[in-house]
């Protein structure tokens, strides 16, 4: 089972529909400072329901929506989707759509579901949603905290 594709439209700096195909083993994302690399990482956290403004690097929830650019008007919605490849058992698609009005929708293979449904489906398939599977920029130093009980919390994520 692996992540086959990420699609972003209206999420942060992605004011154009962008599809990123991923290699089943290893994909390296490169680019100049401020081009949008970490925004891609944030998009997966956001899709899987991360609520923390700090880890999503936004001052408020509507700031995930494309603010516009030099010649482009701001959007009213933000849309992120992933396609998961199940090897012999086909594939499935998970999407999140958010509107500036505050309306929020999670979609599984075209059907609207709750976030809870998505998370329980993913964890039964061994998708592993522990916080250690996504390490944001600068986080590597904090997992080795100087405080022994903080280190324990890191292990408890998977226990």
């Amino acid at each position: 089972m692996h992540l086959k594709e990420i699609e972003l439209y209206g999420f942060k700096s992605f004011g154009e529909r962008v599809k990123i195909e991923l290699n089943p083993r290893l994909t390296a994302i490169v680019g100049p400072n401020g081009s949008g690399k970490s925004n891609i990482v944030d998009s997966i956290r956001w899709l899987l329901g991360d609520q923390s403004y700090k880890s999503l690097r936004v001052p408020s929830s509507s700031e995930v929506i494309f603010k516009g650019a030099e010649n482009d008007a701001p959007f009213n919605f933000s849309h992120v989707g992933i396609v998961v490849d199940l090897e012999n058992e086909g594939e499935f698609q998970v999407e999140r759509k958010y509107h500036r009005s505050g309306e929020n929708e999670y979609v599984l293979n075209g059907k609207v579901v709750r976030l809870k449904d998505i998370r329980s489906l993913l964890s039964t398939m061994g998708f592993g949603l522990g916080s250690l599977s996504i390490l944001s920029q600068g986080q590597i130093d904090s997992i080795l905290s100087l405080v022994p009980t903080d280190r324990r919390a890191v292990l408890e994520e998977v226990a």
């Binding site: 700096s13 390296a28 030099e70 061994g126 998977v158 226990a159």
Partner: protein, 161 residues
């Protein structure tokens, strides 16, 4: 859910094994600060790099802390492998010798989980082979292209001159 002790015992074996594999002449140990109190005990990490005395975590260098943190991360992930792992510039503080060790680690785990990594490091790019270049050609709007490392490095070099 596994219980804490089971996960700890497994992570301990992994941590000591992975460290020994990357630094054969060094020593590493993961232990419980208070084994009699499983419910609250913290974790102690003791590491000796080859040729050096044992140090408090505070005394290691920026790069040494990063490589220990990466090994700690992999030793925990190995106890319950997720299907994918996303790492955003985790090797930024490493010199080329330690980047090589990070690459060796990724190679050893490449059949366990899918890696998606963000990097500025040319050695890491070379190992990955397949790159996705993110740019903002039109001001403020991200675009992504599939690109080979040679095209990326020559395109990049152009923007510099």
């Amino acid at each position: 859910k596994k219980n804490f002790k089971e996960v700890f015992d497994q992570a301990k074996i992994n941590f000591e094994e992975i460290f020994h594999n990357l630094f054969p002449e060094g020593k590493a140990e993961l232990s419980l600060s208070d084994p009699s109190n499983l419910l609250e005990s913290g974790l102690d990490i003791r590491v000796e790099f080859p040729g050096k005395k044992e140090l408090d975590l505070l005394q290691f260098s920026g790069g040494e802390r990063s490589i220990i943190a990466i090994i700690f991360l992999f030793s925990i992930l190995k106890t319950k492998p997720p299907s994918f792992v996303i790492l955003d510039e985790v090797e930024a503080a490493l010199d080329d010798i330690n980047v090589d060790k990070f690459i060796k680690l990724m190679r050893q785990f490449s059949d366990k989980f899918q890696f998606i990594i963000v990097t500025h490091n040319k050695l890491t790019m070379e190992y990955a082979g397949e790159l996705r270049g993110v740019t903002m050609k039109k001001g403020g709007m991200s675009q992504v292209v599939s690109i080979s490392i040679d095209d990326w490095l020559s395109e990049y070099a152009d923007t510099l001159n």
